[in-house]
Symmetry: C2
Subunit: 373 residues, 2 copies
């Protein structure tokens, strides 16, 4: 039963290189270990909880070519836990070892404008947007985009960092200063019923499977909870899957990715509207519940894809609500000596971070319940 997938598959004992030492790298390493792989985590020196669960690690800057060379020689494939890896680092590695998902994926998704252009080119709906490089650009575009709207840096933003809302009467120069006067995107606010995400995987042969769609709630631009199943129509869910397939195919993606989506259900028999907010070219916080509620987690699914193994059926056996534990919750959890651990059907995941700063993701907890339908 040899397939193309199998021919490309890494054998047990192969070494998976992971760029980034945070909680996503840690959970990827834990999943890789369960599949019999050895992990080598590469990250700049600092608080790197992924180091604690990996057979080998390198603490070095992403610009250190000697360290990167040794890393490339040691590993069979490279993947990454976050999208803001410097271009030069990936360019250096990709000449020496397979990098999955590919370098093109990052080039596109690191830039909000190229990401949205790519989406539009493939028939994926997005909120109105404009590239702006100056206060003058903002002045020229803001009437078309409308207020309130959002001004975001094109690159390196996450969890609400590098963005500001422009409301009626706000001074545009001040708003541009707020985001550091960097190349930016101006995005219209779209009215929507729900924020959801689709977390899916594409294997080396182009097969795509998706987990059930969670409904996400943010607080202060940081994900607070993901609840699955989302309260959306079959039509909206199908549209989300179409979007995932279009984007992953266009990017020739290999691995797990998430697409954050705005859903407005159609009133009076109209079709629902599903617009792309952004692509995360990696495992995603809104997919953490898969560890406890599915036969395969997003982390194992990603490792399977990058190792060239067949994807697993992402069957969901339970309903779930995932709660992020941020700095203050983490400290509270510690002080209470495990109150969360006393709650029924609450699956706890802590990241082993040394310091619990305000708002820092310290762990998550997924509460399971019997699947209703």
């Amino acid at each position: 039963m040899m397939t193309d997938t199998n021919k490309l598959a890494l054998k047990p004992g192969a070494v998976i290189g992971i760029l980034g030492g945070g909680q996503l790298g840690r959970m990827l390493a834990l999943a890789a270990a369960e599949l019999g792989f050895v992990c080598h985590v590469y990250a700049p020196a600092g608080d790197n909880p992924a180091f604690d669960v990996a057979a080998r690690h390198t603490a070095a800057p992403y610009e250190d070519e000697a360290a990167l060379l040794a890393f490339a020689k040691d590993v069979d494939v490279v993947t990454y836990e976050f999208e803001n890896i410097p271009d030069a680092c990936l360019a250096f590695l990709v000449d020496r070892v397979p990098v999955r998902p590919g370098v093109n994926v990052l080039a596109i998704t690191q830039d909000r404008i190229s990401e949205k252009n790519m989406a539009v080119d493939h028939g994926v709906g997005v909120p109105d947007f404009a590239a702006v490089n100056s206060v003058r650009d903002i002045e020229n575009e803001i009437d078309r985009i409308g207020r309130p709207c959002v001004l975001k840096t094109r690159r390196f933003g996450y969890d609400g960092k590098g963005q500001t809302i422009i409301r009626d009467g706000d001074d545009l120069a001040k708003c541009f200063a707020d985001i550091g006067e960097q190349p930016a995107i101006l995005e219209s606010f779209v009215p929507f019923d729900l924020e959801v995400s689709i977390v899916a995987a594409r294997d080396v042969n182009g097969k795509i499977v998706a987990f059930d769609i969670p409904e996400n709630r943010h607080e202060n631009h940081i994900l607070a909870t993901s609840r699955v199943p989302a309260n959306i129509s079959k039509q909206a869910s199908d549209k989300a899957m179409e979007i995932a397939v279009k984007l992953a195919t266009a990017l020739e993606y290999v691995g797990v990715f998430a697409v954050e989506l705005f859903v407005s259900e159609g009133k009076d028999g109209q079709e629902p509207q599903v617009l792309m907010n952004e692509i995360a070219p990696r495992v995603h916080n809104s997919g953490h519940w898969t560890q406890d509620a599915c036969h395969v987690s997003q982390f194992e699914q990603h490792i399977r894809a990058v190792a060239g193994l067949p994807l697993a059926d992402p069957f969901r056996h339970s309903d779930a609500v995932m709660y992020n534990l941020l700095g203050q919750d983490g400290a509270q959890w510690e002080a209470l000596g495990g109150e969360l651990t006393t709650q029924e059907n609450m699956c706890i995941h802590l990241y082993g971070k040394a310091e619990a700063r305000e708002g820092r993701k310290m762990g998550h907890a997924t509460q399971l319940s019997k699947r209703k339908h």
Copy 2:
């Protein structure tokens, strides 16, 4: 909501010491990491797959007091993955750091005679047995025990090692020589319908919870499959739980343990007979399916207990069959490039062992299906 349990609970970031670097130590370390603990694995130099997923490890003999002292200073609690730790090692550690389950537990369960005597003292049924130290002892006891019967070394046996069957006509001196002429136990063969095990946990306050009971099938004295739920009556299942409670209470046990049991259902309205085969004072191969079929795995449950955290509800969301992957299967898995990974709802766990010797446990796979009742 402070309880006694909570007062004793280790905080995230605490260090769990694990004696033994095999697959059980590895899966304990993976579970401890998910709870935010740091692991330090101690094992003699060799193929220690647990080292690959632990923040720290010590490769040293169990007799190396300098290494043990450094280990004791580094960790907040010590647990172990297997019961054949030398007494002197544990005696050294227990003066310096909490050891869970305790030292008494090992003293009793390392010796098949004291284990069975303890069981009998607490009203737990066992097959007829006799302590035998010589061929003469065997001659004196064998008529009462009956043939065929089993001769096992009192200590250090596992997976069929250190045991032999005595059949009609067998030469007793040869049988005794087969097991190395060591202090031994002679056990009667009991007719039974099924081999099952109960995998349960006791916390520091004495609370005991058990996973659903699996039905086990052995091949060449090595566990081949565990299937849950077992095809046994409610009465037999209740008796198994009674046995688990009696034994864990008598041993003042803290952590996960397994009791292997022989079940004969009562014919014509009689009560079923449930006899203890042996106690495993640790996580057990017949509990591996809990990783995939329950809200909490036996590994996390054990870490919770030894860390003083509340036990989790061992709810089972799916039916399951666990298949051990032995040396030859492991090699086959590798050769086929992941055929197992193509099977639906098959959750794969490989142990990252360097060498796949015949009969060596290389991994396991748990196939899940919808829970029937």
